[in-house]
Amino acid sequence: MSTITDPPSESFQLSQLINDTRYRSYTFQFIAMILLIAAFAYLGSNLVSNLRAAGLNISFDFLGEPAGYDINQRLIEYDSQSTHWRASVVGALNTLLVAFLGCLMATIIGVIVGVLRLSKNWLIRKVMSIYVEIFRNVPVLVWILIIMAIFVAVLPQPRDFRGEDAEASMLLGSFAFTGRGFYFPKPLFGPGSAVVIAVFLASIAGIFVFRNYARKALFERGQMIPTLWPSVGLFFIPAILAYFVMGQPISLEYPELRGFNFQGGVYARNSLIALTFALAIYTAAFIAENVRAGILAVSKGQTEAAASLGLRPNRIMNLVILPQALRVIIPPLISQYLNLTKNSSLAIAVGYMDLTGTLGGITLNQTGRAIECVLLLMLFYLTFSLCISAIMNVYNNSVRLKER
C-alpha cells in the first residue's frame, strides 16, 4: 500500500514535456524559439546567397557620399553637395515639422468640431457630422491629392500679382497667399533685440508667477484677484517699452514680387500647407469623435452636482467636466497623433520632401540601396513611435484614477 500513497517519484520522464503542464510551457517556448531562429536563419541565408548571386553587398557607405540633389524646404543647412545622411536628416526634420504642425492643427479643429457636434444648433450639428463622416470614410491619400489640387487651383499664383491691374494683391501689403504657398513678413533682429526678447520672456514668466499668486490668494484667503487684464498688460507693455527704449531693433522684412517669385519674408510652401491641412482635417475628424465621446462619458450627474455647488457654467466646464473628459480623450488622441505622423509618409504625393521623400525616395532611387534605405526608414518611424508611446504610458499612469 505504501507504494500507492507515496508521492509520485521526482524522476523526470520525457513524456512530461508534453503532458505535464509544469513543463509543457518550456516545450512550447523551446519550439517557438527554434522555429524563430530557423526562420531568421533561413531568411538570412537567402539574403546572403541572393546578394552574392547579384554581386551586391550591404553597406551604409553611401550615406557619406554627396547626395547631388536639392531639397526645397530645409530646416538646417543643406545643398546638393551635402551627404545622403544630411539629406536624410533634412527629411526627418521635415517629417517632424509637418507632424507637429499637423497635430497642433488637428487638435484645434478636432476639439472645436467635437464640441460643436454637441451644440444646440441643429444646422451646425448636422454640418459637423457630415464633415466627420465624409473625412473619416475616405482614404487620406485621396484627401491629400484633392486638397493639393484645390490649393493650387483656387489660390492666385505669383503671376496674378504682376502688372498694373493685377488680379490679386497682397493683404495689407505684407502677406501674400499664393498657390505656391504663403509669404509672411520676416522679423529681422538688429543689435539690441536680445534685450527685447529677454524682456518678453521675462514678462511671460511674470504672468505665470502672477497667476500662481492669484490662485494662492483665492485658495488661502478667499480673495479674488482679477487675472485676465493684468496678464494681457504684462504680456504686451514691457516688451513694447523695451522695443522703443532699445531704439526699435526689430524690423520686418516684407515679401515682394521680384522675378519669378516673391522674395524675402517667410515662405511656407504649398506642399507643406496642403499636406499639413489635409492630414489635420482628416485626423481632426477622428479627434472630434474622441472629444465628443470624452465629453459624453462624463456623467450628467457631475454637471448637476457642480451646478448645485453653485459653480458657474464655464467653471463647471473647466473644473469638473474637462479634467474628467481629458482622461478619456488623451490616450486615443495620442494614438491619432501617431497615425498622423505615420500618414505623413504620404507626403511625396504632393512633393513635400519628408524622410520618405529623401531617404526612401530620391536617395533610394539614386543609390539603389533598397534594403539599407528601407531599414533606416523603418528605424526612424519606429523610434519616434516608441518614444511617443513611452511618454504616453507615463502620462496614463499619472492621470489614472487611483482606485483601491
Binding site: D70, A153, R180, N261, I362, Q366
Partner: protein, 337 residues
C-alpha cells in the same frame, strides 16, 4: 494566390529548388518574357483604353519576345516605378527592363546591371509658358521648377544651377500627371524632364502653343534596355535584337518588304541578319529566323519610332539624334557578321 501558397509550401518542404538557370532557359520554360516598363508614359509604355500595352519601349519588349519565344504577345508587362525598377530586375522578378532608364556609370558598375544598348538619345530640357518671355535656361534665376523625380533629373538640375551659380526652387513630383496641373495653374514656372517627356506633355495641353521648350538640353540621357550582370548569353540576345531593329532600318528592311527579303537578297548583310545566310541565330542560341520575327512585330527601329513617338503622333518627336548615322544621327548598329 492559394496555388502560389501551395507552391511556396513545397518550396519550404525543400522538395524542389530550381538552381539558378540561365535567364533564357527560364524564359523558354515559362513561355513568357517578363519585361519591366513604366507605370504609364504615353508613347513609351502605357496601357491603352483596351488595356493593351503600347509604346516605343513596349515595342522593344515585344521584339525580344518574338525573337526568343516566337510570339510577340508572350510578354508579361510589369509596371515599375523609379524606386522599384532596379530591385525588380536584380531580384529576377523581371528579365529585362525597358523603362527609359538612363545609362550611367554607377548603374552599370555599382548596381551590377548591363545596359545592352541605347534605344533613345534623350536629354533634359525645360518648358516654360510663353508669357514669361524666357528664352534661355540661364534666365531662370529664382524660378520654381517642377521636377519629375525618380530619374537622374534632380541631379542634372542641381548640377546645372550650381554651375551657372543661379538659384531655383525645386518642386519634386512623382508622376507626370501630377506635375501637369501644378505647371498649368502656375504653381511652377518651369517644368523639367526629359525632352521627349516634355514634348509628350506639351502635346496633351489645351493650348500647346502657349508653352515653349527652351533650347538648352542640360544633360545626356541615353535611354536603353538593361539586364542583370553576369548572364552574358541573355544580354547578347537583348543587345542584338535591339541592334537588329536598328540595322534593319539602315539596310532598308521594313515590315512591308521583309518577307520578300528574307528569301534572299543581294546584300549579304541583310541575308545574315534575316538568317538566309550564316548561322548568327544559332550562335545566339536561337533559330535562324529570330531577327526576322523581331522586325516583323512592329517594323524596324524607324517604323517603331514613327508609330509611337514620331512626328505624326500626338507626341510629335523629330528624329534628331535618333536618326541613323547615315542621316547625321547617332544610331550606329555594329555589323552583323
Amino acid at each position: 494566390m492559394k496555388r502560389s501558397l501551395v507552391i511556396g509550401a513545397t518550396f519550404v518542404a525543400g522538395l524542389s529548388s530550381a538552381a539558378a538557370a540561365a535567364t533564357i532557359d527560364d524564359i523558354k520554360a515559362r513561355g513568357k518574357l517578363n519585361c519591366g516598363v513604366t507605370t504609364g508614359l504615353v508613347g513609351f509604355a502605357a496601357p491603352d483604353a483596351n488595356g493593351e500595352w503600347d509604346g516605343f519601349d513596349v515595342g522593344v519588349c515585344r521584339a525580344v519576345a518574338a525573337a526568343v519565344l516566337g510570339d510577340e504577345t508572350a510578354v508579361e508587362f510589369v509596371p515599375t516605378t523609379g524606386k522599384t525598377r532596379f530591385t525588380s530586375l536584380a531580384s529576377g522578378e523581371i528579365d529585362m527592363l525597358a523603362r527609359n532608364t538612363t545609362w550611367t556609370f554607377s548603374r552599370d558598375v555599382d548596381l551590377k546591371f548591363e545596359f545592352v544598348g541605347i534605344n533613345y538619345y534623350d536629354g533634359q530640357g525645360f518648358m516654360v509658358p510663353k508669357e514669361l518671355g524666357v528664352s534661355s535656361a540661364k534666365e531662370l534665376d529664382g524660378a520654381t521648377i517642377c521636377i519629375q523625380t525618380g530619374t537622374t533629373t534632380e541631379l542634372n538640375l542641381a548640377d546645372f544651377f550650381r554651375n551657372n551659380n543661379i538659384s531655383y526652387e525645386p518642386v519634386p513630383i512623382e508622376t507626370n500627371a501630377e506635375a501637369q496641373p501644378l505647371y498649368l495653374e502656375g504653381a511652377c514656372d518651369v517644368y523639367t524632364t526629359d525632352a521627349s517627356g516634355l514634348a509628350a506633355t506639351r502635346a496633351a495641353f489645351e493650348n500647346p502653343g502657349d508653352h515653349v521648350v527652351l533650347p538648352e538640353i542640360i544633360s545626356k540621357e541615353p535611354l536603353g534596355p538593361l539586364v542583370r550582370h553576369g548572364d552574358n548569353e541573355w544580354a547578347d540576345v537583348v543587345r542584338w535584337t535591339l541592334n537588329a531593329l536598328i540595322a534593319a532600318e539602315e539596310y532598308g528592311v521594313t515590315s512591308a518588304n521583309i518577307e520578300e527579303l528574307s528569301g534572299g537578297s543581294d546584300n549579304p548583310e541583310i541575308n545574315r541578319l534575316l538568317g538566309s545566310e550564316g548561322n548568327l541565330g544559332e550562335q545566339l542560341g536561337l533559330d535562324a529566323d529570330w531577327a526576322k520575327r523581331a522586325i516583323m512585330v512592329g517594323g524596324n527601329y524607324g517604323e517603331l519610332f514613327e508609330k509611337n513617338i514620331g512626328e505624326n503622333t500626338p507626341i510629335g518627336l523629330s528624329r534628331g539624334l535618333n536618326a541613323q548615322w547615315t542621316d547625321g544621327g547617332l544610331l550606329y548598329a555594329p555589323p552583323f557578321r
